[in-house]
Homo-oligomer: 358 residues x 4
């Protein structure tokens, strides 16, 4: 299964060290202007910034759109695209042809398929997410026409940072913003935490907060494909994401019901508004008009820059020493991917909601 | 959207106070014996036990199987079933016809559809999960033929209980087991916590741990429909579930990579085994042969047994006092539903995996 | 696979001699009034009329709607329904437990599933189509709100009848109309042909013309799920239907291009109109605003009222003499089912078309 | 909707005069050797042969496989591919920017999407079928491992040719075979018919017979996605195909039931065999082990090489004279596409059938 979405659908392909990544975006609303430069810039955001834990590998993710856009507008037909894999030093991975790295997908792919492309993780590489950036860029542009803005933030990395308050966040923020931790203290502490881990040759996980502002009440589905379930599945599909929570999330576990009711009241103009947003903008799987707020946890990068005991496909214990390029943490790089997936899910649910009425 | 699954699919229907709940299970493997008594008993487990925070409402959820099983074996054709809604005192809900209860789906359904059945929550009621119990019962029986056993446990309720160690759990346990908290201290503390909240007229959330033992390596999908993403979506689709984590989950956020590697090694017989299971049995979206372990958070029941300020559909502030029957906590009742959904997802992925090879 | 449709979906269940037929209709537009009497009357049309080749078996297909409709309007939630199987003389089928009837699905079900319900054809019985009548009745009512009317006609049975001209047909016709052959000569000849076959103990096939009037330009899909491909698949899914053609159909094979161009021209009011409708209202998989016209061929009922050589499951040659009740022709009974399936496909494509634009 | 298939799925993209055609093939069985040369040769068969009614336009449909195949074997991951559009003289189509050609999809695309790429028919061009050739080539290779061979033949063009008898056909035939009409008389008559129409500046339709040999009993689905319904939808999705019939097809209309029974009997070895194959190898939507035989009708190419009255988007009557390159008939070019789509449907149903049993 390599297709995301119900109406607005991305079907992607590509192994990390194959010829190209790419995909087909189907269910695209027609006759909508597309800003090709903004699309490419959105994709560029996936590049790691040197000071935030990313690797030195430079990727020129040049998006070639092959169909579905004509004279600057969507045709309604599928948008096919590719992103060539350039900076490929497959030789770096020869020592992995026959080794199953711990906490990677080497072993599980081999067990599932009986074959795998070991170079750079093959299909399991985070490079796969470049295709989501392309579809997410498109969805983001479309949501802007609907007044919906999605923004994600690095909340914590390792033991640095702390829980952010969505209400205090500036969304949509400055376009130049790195969507990094928005507090000065948090950002500094996180950079220090990353630098420390790098010295240790170790790696770090963290948490990301994502907020969608401007979603009206009524997007979502009642039983299967609940809005937060679709968001959860989208987040959990991102490499290294291991937990998802909506609204107050795991804090709901230890609070009383009386502490987390989202009471409603009429505002000065007689419109319904909410006294709180513990629910994170979704009730019963359907948006209620508040900010949609959720968090996710990214595990530490499993490859450490040290000798590591592994088993090979003959079942023998051997040791490998990682080569190539590896991030200290995937948290920073995950931020734009979180935004992309969120935009895709929201646009998809918007389109579904159009079929609710005759 | 009211369909779960890719191959093994449940499409359900039913409002809480309508004529019946029911569904169609399609993609059922043929010629498999079905134990009808065990199926009904599995569904009965959804009934609340009086000492664990459930309500006094007795539900006789009699499953009427209408098709797809003949002379005790599955035909491979869809299994249609209904469960009549009997103990319905719709009059209890008249005061809600025009009121949007806080942290319920009343308002969002109205916004989405422009109409709703206000009685007992309508389609948004947890009564909907009875249909999942039926499909889950069937999936559970089929998984048993494959040597796979799913069991969920109440880990915490409110501030009582603590994180369980999956390795120490007896699975499949005693059939008489309530799948409640398996530690004596935890169970006692949780019962006390529930009793305390009940006196306060308040409600509680909590955490559930679910373990699937016996899943071989190789079930799951690489990008969309990753095994843990499908499990996450299934859990988040259960009423009141607000968070999901696989393996070490949100603890990954603050640990070093060196602390959470699942190293592999050959065992005495030369077979590959794992020194740890931080990952919760899934790598890259595909099972690795370890226990599949995940947790979820249930929010407190939003209806408190006290006067509550609400708005009505005219946007006026009014107050309601809940009538009818309401649980102190949904955690206990959610356990068998968690097991049911887990079994459905696992069987579905098993069937998908059969198409991986010519 | 027992689900029809993309957005408006019917998932059905039921064996001919099981407890009930039924289904779930999902993707139903909300807040639309439903005329329950008209729905039941639509379903009643599936009953054979004595003079048109149907059997003497009376079926009281009482539709029990179990969900999704509240106070006479659709809720947007799935509509579950059942139709009990009453007049079941399963004993009539004991002689078929171990016999594969020619040109029936007995053998293929056994080969696919390794098990089958032999009573009355089980899932392969045309009784399954009662569930399509329910969904089709609902779709028909919704299409009427959109100004779309679907009507099918018996064109030929055996060698009687002849090709009808859609332009001359009165649509929507008299509600009392049997949707039989609308020409006096054709109707008379067809009744004689059926009477003749009945005397011979033989059976007949025939052709049905279906016309949908009022479909605007723009419904359909460009590559997969073309409007006429979805209509074709829907028709071919009806028991005994063996051919489908849109517009001029198989006559296109032997005509010159110059004979079948649908030239367009401005009408007196400057609107585009068509000089001909050889295409049957669909171009490139998308409706063009003309009548949608297609035909289908129903094969003769395979069970003859005479001794028939068959093989049993041990591979031995035996003979059976049909008992129970069998139609001379399925053509007449298929007409309302054709209308039901057509309405379902059209409503589905209407709903899909709503997602074409932001 | 641009996705074919349930398990083995092709999602395609591309406009005729855009940068490239392409697609993603998902659900590919893993670890199967792929002959890349044979794949390219299969795709090459789509090129028109000069003597059979094709145009002079040469297309070098070079398939670039970008993923999913590694060291000559399928990885089980999706196969992404593109085919560049080279020989593009878009200027040839400038006169069509604002004109709706009769019996083309120009008008319907404009009505559906509010925008279209007028160059060469855009997405509605038969050039789209090159992507089906790629997926079909792969499916064909996989079916060969299963002993299944698909072959289609030109039966009639205009008034030349006649109904072929599937039993007399040599399948799999000579690899050099053009899959043209296999009878000497038929082939000669058809070439003459084409030459005659070409002189007249007119165009022709025709019929194609397709046979799949070696399909075992048990492939197919019982209600939706019946094998012949899926084949029908696949054929009707091919440009210019307007009718589909399985087995005896429209002849069923005028024959008695006693004339078309497919009686079964034990053969010399006690195995069940069929005395006839009127049904075309499918009963109740499931294969019965006989040759699967179906026919389809291709309409005449709608563009004639003469001045043609059209309307433009302002609703004015204007005239166009076609330029560029146009076939006299699409029948010959459709043959390999018919084979490709058939192979895709059959492999898909084979994979689905693997999930019928635990």
């Amino acid at each position: 299964m390599n297709t995301f979405g119900h109406i607005f659908r991305l079907t992607s392909f590509g192994e990390s060290h194959g010829a190209a990544m790419g995909g087909v975006i189907d269910g695209v609303p027609a006759n909508v202007p597309v800003d090709a430069d903004a699309l490419q810039q959105f994709v560029n955001r996936r590049h790691p910034e040197p000071h935030t834990g990313g690797t030195a590998r430079r990727e020129y993710d040049v998006v070639e759109v092959l169909s579905g856009i004509y004279e600057g507008r969507t045709l309604g037909t599928p948008i096919g695209f590719i992103v060539r894999n350039h900076d490929v030093r497959s030789g770096d991975y020869d020592h992995l042809r026959d080794a199953y790295r711990p906490s990677h997908a080497d072993y599980t792919y081999q067990m599932k398929y009986g074959i795998r492309d070991h170079r750079g993780g093959g299909r399991a590489s985070a490079r796969e997410t470049v295709t989501r950036m392309v579809a997410g860029a498109l969805a983001t542009q479309m949501l802007q026409h609907l007044g919906v803005h999605v923004q994600a933030f690095v909340e914590c990395v390792g033991k640095a940072g702390c829980r952010l308050n969505p209400e205090e966040l500036d969304i949509p923020g400055n376009a130049e913003s790195s969507h990094f931790n928005p507090t000065q203290a948090g950002a500094k502490a996180i950079r220090q935490e990353i630098a420390k881990a790098q010295k240790l040759g170790d790696t770090l996980g963290g948490t990301i907060l994502c907020v969608a502002r401007g979603v009206p009440a009524g997007w979502g589905e009642p039983v299967a494909a609940k809005l937060h379930a679709d968001l959860g599945a989208a987040m959990l599909s991102i490499n290294a994401v291991k937990a998802f929570e909506i609204g107050q999330g795991h804090q709901f576990s230890s609070l009383y019901g009386s502490e987390v009711q989202d009471l409603m009241k009429p505002d000065a103009n007689g419109r319904i508004c909410f006294a709180a947003n513990h629910s994170g903008g979704v009730q019963g799987g359907i948006s209620n008009g508040n900010d949609i707020c959720f968090r996710l946890v990214v595990k530490p990068v499993p490859t450490l820059m040290r000798e590591t005991p592994v088993v090979n496909s003959s079942g023998e214990a051997v040791a490998i020493t990682p080569q190539g390029r590896h991030d200290v943490t995937a948290v920073v790089r995950a931020v734009p991917i979180v935004e992309a997936m969120t935009a895709m899910v929201l646009l998809d649910h918007y389109l579904m909601s159009k079929t609710n009425h005759l």
